[in-house]
Amino acid sequence: MMQSLRRSSLLLAVLLLVVPTTLFAQCGVERWSVKTGTDADIGLVHLTSSSNTTIAAMRAPAAPSPIPANNRVAPLETTQWVINATLTLYKLESDSDYHLVLQDANGLTMIGEIPSPTCVGSGSPFLSGITNARNEFNARFTATTSFQTANIPVKVTGVGMFDFLHGQTGVAPNGIELHPILDIVFNPGSSPDFALSASPTSLTVTQGSSGTSTISTSVSNGFNSSVALSISGLPSGVTASFSPTSIAAPGSGSSTLTFTASSTATTGTFNTTVTATGGGLTHTTTIPLTVNAATSPNFAISASPTSLSVAAGGTGTSTISTTVSGGFNSAVSLSASGLPSGVTAAFSPTSIAAPGSGSSTLTFTASSTAAAGTSTITINASGGSVSHSTTVSLTITSGGTTTQIIGNPGFENGSTNTAPWTLTSGVINNSTSEPPHAGSWDAWMDGYGTTHTDTALQQVTIPAAATAATLTFFLHIDTAETSTTTAFDTLTVQVRNSSGTVLSTLATFSNLNHATGYSQKSFNLLSFKGQTIQIFFKGVEDSTLQTSFVLDDVNLNVTQ
C-alpha cells in the first residue's frame, strides 16, 4: 500500500511538472534562426566584445527593407550591445520567450526577449548566454502569460534583431530588439567581476595545420581569484589547448589557445565556446572556427551575359570572369571557338594575369554580310595546367528599317505618367498578383468580379510608305468564371480613327480564353498605312466572378 502511494505520489509530482511545461513548450517561427543564433550569418556576430549603447541610439536607424529571414543586418544585428535601462513590463509569450519592455529616462522603449533554452539549437553560440539570462531572470521574477510590472534598473547585454512591426507592446519604431538577451543584471552596481575576450575573434585553419587565439581576462571591482579555462564545441579531428590552462589570481592575464586540425578533420565552420570560471563566476566567449580542406589549385570561368544579339554590321560584348581557388597562381589565357562566318571575337585583355582571378571583355564584331542565326560560342581558358570553358549564345540579326511606334509600350512609365496611353483608373499595375510579361509594369484590365469596364487607348500614325505594319501584344487572362461555353467577360481589340469611330475589330477575347502565362497576339495593320488611328482595348466585366485581362509589351512595328 505504502509502495503504491509512493509510486502514485511520484506520478503526481511528474504530472505537476509536466503540465505547465507542455502548456508553454512551443517555439517561434518568424526569424527564429536569427533570434536564436542558428542563422546563416551567425559567424558575423561578435560575441567576444560588446558595445555600450542606448535605447535612443538603437531606435535611430531606419528598419532595413526587406528584413532578411535568415541573414543579419550589420551592425545592429552583428554586435553584442549593452544597455542600461529600466525594465518596466515582462511577460511569457506563447513562443516561450520572455518579452521584456525596456525604457530609458525619456520614456523611449524597446523590446528585449529571452528565448527558452529549449528552443535554441544546440550549435548556437547564443545558447549559453540565453541559458544564463533565463536563469538570472527566473531568479528574480516569475513570468506569466500576462504582463507584469517590474520598474527595476537593469543592465542588459544582447544582440540586436529587427522584428517586423505588428503591434508588439513596447516595440521600437524601427522594430529593433535585443533578441536574444544574453545577460541581465538587476540593480547593476559594483560587484567583483571579470571580463573575457579572444583575439582574433574567429579562426580559420586548414586540415593538417594549426592556429592560435589569445584569450584574455581583466578584473574589476576587486575580483581576486584564479580563472580556469576550458573549451567545448570542437569538431572531430581538431584538438585545442591552453597555455597556461588558467589565469592566476587575481584573474587578470592571458592564455594562448591553440587549435590543431588533423589531415582528416571535419571541414566547415563550428562555434567553439571558451568557458572561464573563477570566484564563483562563469563567462563564455564564442570563437567561430573554420576548418578548410586542403585543396588543389584550380580556377572557374563564367560569362555575363551568356547570350546576346548582334545586328549584322554591329558589335556586342560579354564579360568573361575567372576566380581562383586552392592557391592557384598562374595567368589564364583566353580564346573563342565556334564563331560563325563573318563574325570575329577579341578579348581585352587577351589573358587574365596571375594569380588568375579577373575579367576580360569579349567583343564580337559581325560584318554586314554575316548571316542571321544563332551560334554557340565556346570560350576556352587555360593556365597552370588547368583548362576550363564556358559558352555564350550569339544571335546575329539581319539589318532592317523596322521602327516600333507605340509609346510607353510596356507601361514602364508607371502609374503616374501613363502617356501616351489614355487609360481608366487602376489599370496600370505593378502588383505581383498579376506580374508583367517583362519589366515591372503591365495594364491590368478588370478583375473586380463586379460590373466594370476598363479601357486603354493610344493614337499613332502609320507612315504612308510603310511596307509592313504589325501590331503585337502579350495577353494573360485569368478568371473565376467556370463556364466553358459562355463569354461573360470580354476584351475587345479595335482600330478606331482619330474621332473614335471603329474602323476594325481585330479580336475579342473572353473568360473562355483564360490560360496560365502570357501569349503573344499579332495583327497586320498595313491596310491602315497613311492614317492616324487609335489602338483601343476595352475590357467589360459582368456582375460577378472576376476575369482579369492583363496586357503588356504592346508593339506596332512599321517597316519602310
Binding site: V19, C27, D97, P435, T544, L545
Partner: protein, 228 residues
C-alpha cells in the same frame, strides 16, 4: 490503488483546469476592439464569435492589399470524412457569391479579388487536437518549403480551414469561444505571408461567413495598420 490513481487523475485534472483557468482569466487584450495578442507578442485581428462589428472602418496609414487571392488549405484528418468534405466546395472562393457584401467592400477600396487558387487538402498531418498560431505559422513554413502550396504573391491570402475536432487558440483566446476566425501575417523565407485561420463551425453558413469576413479584413488590413 485504483482509488488513489483516480484521485490523482482528478487532482491533475483540477490542476490543469486551474492552470487553464488562470490562463483564461489573465488574457491580455490590446486596446483595439476585435484584436488579440498573438503568440509572439504582436496583434492579430479577429472575427468575434458573435460577429460583432465596431462601427465604420477608419484608415490607419498602413498598407492595404491591391488584390486578394484565396488559397484554401483544409487542414486535419477530420476533412477526410465524406460528409465534412462535401462542405469544401462552398468555401473555396469565399467572395465569389453574387451580392457578397465583403466583395463589394473590397471593390469600394479598389481591391481586386482574383480567381481562387486550387485548394490543398492535408488530412494526414496535424493530428493534435489543439493548434495555436505558432503551429499554423510552422505549418505554413513547412508547406512552402515543400512546395505543397504555391509561393505567395502580393495578394495571396492562405485561408486555413481547420477540421472538426481541432481547437484553435490565439494568444489566450479560444476559437469558437472568443473568435470565429482571425487573420495574421508572418515573414518567412518565401516572403510576407498573409493568412486566415478558420476553426470548424457546425453551421455551414456561419463557417463561410467567418472565412469571408476574415478574408476581406486581411485585404483591408493585412499588417494591422490599414482599414479597420
Amino acid at each position: 490503488m485504483k482509488k488513489i490513481a483516480l484521485g490523482i487523475l482528478l487532482l491533475c485534472g483540477t490542476v490543469t483546469c486551474v492552470l487553464s483557468a488562470q490562463q483564461q482569466a489573465s488574457v491580455d487584450r490590446p486596446a483595439e476592439p476585435n484584436f488579440a495578442f498573438d503568440d509572439d507578442g504582436g496583434k492579430a485581428q479577429i472575427v468575434p464569435a458573435n460577429f460583432a462589428v465596431t462601427g465604420p472602418k477608419t484608415f490607419h496609414g498602413g498598407p492595404v492589399l491591391a488584390s486578394a487571392q484565396q488559397v484554401s488549405i483544409f487542414l486535419g484528418a477530420g476533412w477526410g470524412d465524406t460528409q465534412v468534405r462535401g462542405r469544401e466546395s462552398s468555401l473555396l472562393d469565399v467572395t465569389a457569391s453574387v451580392g457578397n457584401a465583403h466583395a463589394a467592400e473590397l471593390k469600394q477600396h479598389s481591391i481586386k479579388t482574383l480567381r481562387a487558387a486550387p485548394k490543398l487538402e492535408d488530412f494526414t498531418d496535424l493530428t493534435q487536437s489543439k493548434v495555436n498560431d505558432l503551429t499554423i505559422q510552422q505549418k505554413l513554413s513547412d508547406m512552402l518549403k515543400s512546395k505543397a502550396i504555391p509561393a505567395p504573391s502580393a495578394g495571396t491570402v492562405y485561408v486555413i480551414f481547420l477540421a472538426p475536432g481541432i481547437h484553435s487558440s490565439l494568444g489566450g483566446l479560444q476559437g469558437g469561444v472568443d473568435y470565429a476566425a482571425y487573420h495574421n501575417f508572418v515573414n518567412l523565407e518565401a516572403g510576407e505571408i498573409h493568412y486566415v485561420v478558420v476553426p470548424f463551425h457546425e453551421n455551414a453558413d456561419t463557417h463561410s461567413a467567418a472565412a469571408t469576413r476574415a478574408f476581406a479584413e486581411t485585404a483591408l488590413n493585412p499588417n494591422g495598420q490599414g482599414w479597420f
